[in-house]
Structures are given as C-alpha cells and as structure tokens.
C-alpha cells in the first residue's frame, strides 16, 4: 500500500506563472488586498533574491523596477487547482483533494500500469510540468508521510516502507502546519509552533523523541497527533473525491483588449491549458464555449444599433461546435480566430472564459483498402474558411426534406469521419460497376432565383417565351406538360404550380444554333411565369 502526494510550492506564484508562462524568468510578486493597501503575499525565488518579501506593501515592492507585480487571482488559482486534480486523476481514480495546493493519490495497483513507485513519481512530476505546474512529489506508505515529505522536500522523494521517521526527521516543525488554515485555526497553529519553539523543538526528529505522556499532558491529543505525524506512523483512510468534469479556463485582464491579435495570444494560452487538461484525462472536446466579458462602459454607454444583443448585455458568447471530438489547440485557435473575425465582439474585452465540453476521443481506424478521406481537423478548418468566403449556410452536405417542394432540401454540416464510422464498410465496397448498367440521369441546373419570363399562350399552352437572358427566349419548339404540383396548403407558405418542359432554340458557341431544354413554371398562386432551370 503506497500513496503519493503532489504539492505545488508557493501556490499563488505557481498559478500566476501557469497563466503567464513568460514570467518564468522574471521576478514576480503577488499582491493581495484592496488598493491602496495591497501587500505582497508571495514571491518567486528571483524576487526573493532581490529583497522582496511577503508582507511588503505595493509601494515598497515597486521600488524594485525589475519586478513584475500581479494581483492574486482566484480564477487562476482555481484553474491551477483543477489542473492539479486532473494530473492526479490521470494516474489514479482514488484521489483526495487535501488542499488547494496539495493532492493525495492512492497508488495501489498502479505498478502494473506505470511501473515502480519511483517511476510513477517521475511521471507525475512530468505530467504536472506539462500542465504548467512545478511540483514536489513524494511517495510513502501512509498518506500523511507522503504529504509531509512533499511539502518538506523539493523535487521527487520516495520513502521506502518503514523508513518514514528516518526520512522525515530533518524536516522543520512548521511543515506540520503548512495547511492553508482559517484565521482562528491559523492563530492556534501559530501558538503551538511558538510553544514548540520555546521548548527548542525545531525539527520532526526532536518532536518524535519527546515522551508521549508528557507531551499529552502539555498539548493534549493535538500534541500526540503531531508526534505521530513526525514519526511517520499515523494512519488514516483516504477521502477520495470525484473531480468534476468541468474544463474551464479563465483569465481576467488588467487592461482591456481591443484588437483580435492580442486576444489570439491569450486564447492560445487558454486553449493549450485546456487541451493539456483534457489530454491528461484521455478526453477530447466537441464543443468550445468562449465567453468574453466586455467593457461595460463601451458596451452600454455607447449605443451600437448594429451590434448583437450579447454585446449590450456586456457578455459576448460564441460556441464552437465540432462534428467530431478533437484535441488540437492550434486547430481550435484557428477556428476561434475565424469565428471572431466573422463575428467581432464589438467592445473592449475585460475577461475571457473558455469552457470545453468533454467528450471521448474518436476511435476510428482506417482500413488499408478504404479510399482516403479528408482529415477531420483540416476539413473543419477548410470548411470554416470556405464559409467565411461564401457564407455560413452555403457550404456543407445536402439533406433532402420529406416534401415534394422543388427546393425541399437543407444544408447541414459536412463530416467525413462520421460517415466512415457509421456506414463506411457498406459504402466502401459498393460495386462501382452498378452505375455502369444504367444510363446517366438527366440533370437539371436550377436558376436561383428563378428567372421571370413573359410567356405567350395559345390554347393555354406556351408558344413563345421572352426572358431577361438573351439565350432563353424565342419560340417554343417542343413542350410537355403541364405537370401540376402543390403542397403546404395548410401553411402560410403554400405553393401550387404547373411545370412545363420546353425546348428553345438558342445560339451556342461560335454562332452555331442549338436547342436547349428548360423547365418552365407557372405559379398558380402568384400568377407569374418563371424559367426554373435547364436540363443539361
């Protein structure tokens, strides 16, 4: 039975660095409090070397010109915490959410999957690094020892069974109180730490060596509990939790963004974090929801009549629905860029929220003898780009409607992969020769919208036609019809028409004379004549 603990040291700084990776090399201090009473609560190592320490005021910290100051962000910390849970969940289903900066996981049975405890610890560290977190990982035979070792030792620590006291003895006593406690608990912990300090107890070895009865008499059960922890002999059951399947990354901006280009950089960062989190849980996404909080001054005080209603409510949302589950940050970014180019927010952006709806990744294996099909990611980008050129509803696959109306169809999303999955084999081995035995089906080319025509009738039959197009006019050489169609008479869009197939003489290329066949329609409700299409 072994447990591993993942601890993120200096959590506020780590959360800020995860959100802004370019600050890794800079001196960073995190501020908390209401202006102008902001104080430094955490600093990174470089800032510490420059003399910046927690407790300083913002004005004091600003004396150092090279330091980057950031306000503490609950959004960033919750995202970092969710990423930490994802990291643990990707290795073990039994995960305890010990603290916002600490998680504990049960490694029982994991050896056959991931190797030895040391291998798992290294893999945990690498996975956390991939999620943008620099962590300490410790493995021990009991949960509390693993947590203490992770909080006390940097890097990776593996404590063999039975060696807990020996390994933990060098740790300072304050590691026992490293939990982020509430105010009253914190005061109590400070008093205990002070008492131990007065006794000359500075490390766990000294605490473990104290006589139990005397310790109990002075500190009560709390003291005994602390001694158990120091000896590495405590035992408790894990409190597993089911991490919610919520994948949200948010960022709040100090200065509003106006242009789409800087927005793309931030979106890229959020998408990479989201994809890393989804990837760690072996998931993909089929729906991305982008919510932008717009600058209320611009969105409310200035009236933009042409802007959509989302802007006026200072929230602008766009939803990207994908035909298939995908996990490619670059593709998502490009799709979002194209979408935002087509539908710009219309006001400066103050906050970005990106949520991904998790989905199981597609599992499709192409056959050796199946014809190639477009790559789904590439195809989606291509379709979005083409939609930007020709219009959103003008690219896709055709779906016929259950109606006799001549334009009884609608456009729907074209998805190559889904077809191969659902009906691939059947259509893949269809006999090509089957089409050879039939003659080609005469095609109709539709004029959209139909061409208005002036028709001369004789005995109720068209004999001459005049149309705006020069090549579609003249005497009717041959005709067949009328074929009467009607429908939807129970709705407002009722239609009723007579169709004629007619032959007209027209001028082909180089002045030669040719005959063309057209479909002529008499709208019985409106009374007009239209050339609806040409047989070709």
């Amino acid at each position: 039975m072994s447990f591993a603990s993942i601890y993120v040291p200096n959590f506020p700084v780590a959360a800020a660095l995860r959100a802004e990776s370019e600050l890794q090399a800079a001196a960073l201090a995190i501020l908390e409090g209401k202006p102008p009473l902001e104080k430094v609560i955490a600093v990174n190592e470089k800032a510490g070397r420059m003399g910046i320490a927690p407790g300083m005021t913002k004005a004091q910290a600003e004396l150092c010109t090279e330091i980057a100051l950031r306000s503490r962000s609950a959004l960033q910390e919750s995202s970092a915490h969710a990423a930490l849970l994802d990291c643990a969940q990707s290795f073990s289903p039994c995960v305890e959410d010990t603290a916002c900066d600490t998680v504990l996981l049960d490694l029982a049975g994991m050896e056959s999957l991931f190797g030895s405890t040391s291998d798992i610890s290294h893999a945990l560290s690498h996975r956390a690094a991939a999620l943008g977190l620099a962590v300490n990982v410790a493995a021990a035979s009991n949960p509390d020892s693993a947590v203490l070792a992770a909080r006390g030792f940097s890097g990776i620590t593996v404590i063999p069974p039975g060696k807990e006291a020996e390994q933990l003895r060098r740790l300072p006593v304050k590691v026992l109180f490293a939990d982020r406690l509430e105010k009253d608990q914190k005061e109590q912990a400070d008093r205990l730490l002070e008492t131990l300090g007065r006794w000359g107890i500075h490390d766990l070895q000294a605490l473990a060596a104290l006589p139990e009865i005397a310790l109990s008499e002075r500190l009560g059960q709390k003291g005994l509990r602390l001694q158990e922890l120091a000896r590495g002999s405590s035992s408790r059951t894990l409190v597993p939790m089911e991490p919610p399947m919520v994948f949200v990354e948010e960022i709040e901006l100090e200065h509003p963004i106006v242009l789409l280009e800087p927005l793309a950089f931030l979106l890229n960062r959020l998408l990479e974090q989201l994809c890393a989190r989804l990837g760690s849980r072996a998931l993909a996404t089929q729906e991305l929801q982008l919510t932008l909080t717009l600058d209320s001054f611009h969105s409310s005080d200035i009236d933009y009549p042409s802007l959509p209603s989302q802007v006026k409510s200072s929230l602008f949302s766009r939803t990207l629905r994908l035909p298939l589950p995908m996990l490619d940050a670059k593709v998502f970014l490009k799709l979002l860029q194209l979408d935002l180019s087509a539908h710009p927010p219309g006001a400066p952006i103050m906050k970005i929220r990106l949520a991904a709806e998790p989905a199981h990744p597609r599992s499709a294996q192409g056959g050796l003898f199946l014809p190639p099909s477009p790559e789904p990611e590439k195809l989606e980008l291509t379709l979005t780009r083409i939609a930007g050129i020709v219009g959103e509803n003008k690219v896709g696959a055709v779906e016929l409607l259950d109606t006799h109306h001549p334009e009884g169809f609608r456009m729907r999303r074209f998805a190559a992969e889904m077809i191969r999955k659902t009906r691939g084999e059947k259509s893949g081995v269809a006999e090509p020769g089957s089409t050879k035995e039939k003659s080609a089906v005469t095609a109709l080319r539709r004029f959209r919208p139909p061409l208005c025509a002036n028709v001369t009738l004789k005995d109720g039959q068209p004999v001459k036609l005049i149309c705006r197009k020069r090549e579609i006019q003249g005497d009717v050489l041959w005709k067949a019809g009328p074929w009467r169609f009607s429908g939807d008479w129970w709705e407002h869009e009722a239609w009723s028409r007579d169709e004629w197939d007619i032959a007209l003489q027209n001028e082909a290329s180089r002045g030669a004379v040719a005959i063309a066949l057209y479909r002529l329609v008499h709208d019985l409700l409106g009374g007009g004549w239209f050339v609806e299409g040409m047989y070709d």
Partner: protein
C-alpha cells in the same frame, strides 16, 4: 539558322529523358557523361542555337560544348536512373461510353468538360460524382452559380459524401426560400467576377485540404469571357496541387479555358444538333420527342442523347473520335 531544344516538358512538367542508349554511335561517352546531366539540369530552358536537328547532331554539338568547357563535367546521372512517371490511374466516369472513349478519368489531373446549354455537361459531372461516392470517396462540388439540383443527384450520389460549396451572393437566414419570387429578381446581384473569385479561393482551400476523390468546379453558367479571366497560372497551380494525389479535378465550362493544364478535354453537344434544320418543318417534327398530334400532357421528356468528343488527351495518342450515349430523366424509370 536552326536550333535544338533540349527539353520539351511544358505539358508533362517533367524533364526530357535524354537516354544514353539512344546515341550508341558516339560510343566513347560513358553513361555518366556530363552531357546527360547538362541536359537534365538545363531542361526546359536550354536552346542551343546553330545546331542541326536530330539526336545524333545534338549529341555531337553537346560533345563539342564539353570540349570547349562550356558544360560542367561533373555529376551526370544517366537517363535510365531518372525517375519515370508512373502510369496514371484511371477511374470510371460513371458513363460507360465515356469510359470507352477516354479510358475513364485520370487521377491527379485536370479534366475539362465543355459544352453549350443542354449538352449534358452536368449529367456527366453528376455521373462522375455518383461513381466516386459509390467507390466510397468524398467529393466536393464548387458551384459557381449555385445551380445544383439536389433532387437530380439524389438518385445516384451519396449525399453524405458530397460537399457542396454554393458560390454567389450571400443568402439571407432563410437560405432556400420556398416561395417562387413574385417580383422580378436580378439573377446576379453581384458581378460574376465575385463568384469566380469565390470559386478559385474555395478550390484552393479544398485542394490544400486534400482527401477528396473528386473536386469539381462548375463554371458552366459563367459567361465564357468571365471564365477566361482565370489566369493560366491559377490552372497551373491547381494542376500542380492535384499532381501525384488521388484526386480528380473536374472543371465544367462552356468553352475550354485551362489550356495546356488540362490532361483531358471532353467536348459535349446534343446528338440531335446536326440534324436540326429549323427552316424545315419536317426537321422540327424530328425534334419532338413524341408525336406532336398528341396533347402536350401526353408528351414526356424521357431524356436526350449526348455526343461526347475527345477533344484533347495528354494521356494517350489515340486519334480523336466521339461516342454517343443516352441520358434518361429520373421519372422515366
């Protein structure tokens, strides 16, 4: 003044295969002779003035050029080691008569289908799409005039495998109005050039995306003068993009516009066209598909006959000839 062109590869895009075995009389030239490398390296551009025609004369002049140190003598690759273009894969066009005429449609090439109104261009195009979707391939139709009739393709084409790009003016939210417009509409609110630009951009993207068995450009309703504005470089780019890929690039138009970029050119016309003489009332009777004595509702358009002529083929050197084949309407059974 005579000249010898070392390479004539404009049509194929490949260097001229200057094989050492074709000049045996020079004898002393090794197979890795600099001449061969020179012919390869300068393929497409080298014109040696003052040469006599014929390979032997050419060889002599090249040898003298080496002696005069005008040709770098290093790194010559014999023609036998040069890459030989693999035979093109031909697939069924969906019309047996056209398959017999052309051997099918070549993959990795541009095929043009030309003809006037009611010449059967769209019928052949849809037959090719039906055949491709039947093979399990995905197809794309870039429709310059938004003229496709979904009911026409429903019988043969697998609709799930056809990507339809409808160029033209942007439609309103209700994309397919179910009412016949009751006022006179302008057919094209935007100029044809705009639609043409949409076609070219969409085709570029589709070619770049890859994975399609057939990419068809329907330019049949564009005026020839507009279609001819497509630069030849664009056709070269398209041809280059599909080369060595299993994609058939089809272009349907009124007149040939791709020039030397197309590997196959099919000219279609109605088979009855040459029989018509509109001054002769007897010929007009021939035109009628049924006896004109019958009432008009007793007539039925059951199809028409198409004459397909192989106007150009860079795939084989067979003499041009034509075939005729019938089409049938969907309701003819």
């Amino acid at each position: 003044m005579s000249s010898a062109v070392i390479s004539t590869s404009a049509a194929s895009g490949r260097p001229f295969l200057f094989d050492a075995e074709t000049v045996p009389e020079t004898g002393s030239v090794p197979t890795n002779s600099p001449i061969l490398e020179y012919s390869k390296a300068h393929a497409g551009s080298a014109v040696l003035d003052g040469m006599e025609h014929g390979p032997k004369a050419c060889w002599r002049h090249l040898q003298s050029a080496i002696n005069q140190q005008r040709i770098p003598p290093a790194s010559i690759t014999p023609a036998s080691r040069l890459e030989i273009r693999p035979a093109l894969e031909m697939v069924s066009s969906g019309v047996p008569a056209i398959d017999a005429l052309t051997g099918g449609l070549p993959r990795g090439c541009l095929t043009e289908i030309c003809g006037s109104a009611s010449s059967g261009r769209t019928t052949v195009l849809l037959a090719a799409l039906a055949s491709a979707t039947c093979r399990g391939e995905f197809c794309a139709l870039v429709d310059a005039s938004d003229a496709l009739d979904p009911q026409s393709i429903a019988t043969g084409v697998d609709l799930d495998r056809l990507l339809w790009v409808r160029c033209g003016e942007n439609l309103t939210s209700k994309n397919n109005s179910r009412e016949i417009p009751r006022q006179l509409h302008s057919r094209n609110d935007r100029p044809a050039e705009h639609r043409l630009e949409q076609v070219l951009r969409a085709t570029d993207l589709l070619l770049e995306s890859g994975g399609f068995g057939v990419i068809a450009l329907d330019l049949a309703d564009l005026p020839p003068q507009t279609a001819r504005r497509i630069p030849l470089t664009t056709w070269f780019r398209f041809r280059r993009a599909v080369e060595h890929k299993p994609t058939i690039l089809l272009s349907v138009e009124q007149q040939p516009i791709a020039g030397s970029c197309s590997s196959l050119l099919l000219q279609l016309r109605p088979a009855r066209e040459n029989l018509l003489n509109f001054d002769d009332p007897h010929s007009q009777e021939q035109l009628s598909l049924c006896d004109s004595i019958l009432p008009t509702h007793a007539d039925l358009l059951t199809g028409f006959e198409i004459k397909a002529e192989l106007a150009l083929s860079r795939l084989n050197r067979k003499p041009a000839y034509s075939v005729m084949f019938p089409t049938r309407t969907a309701w003819a059974g």
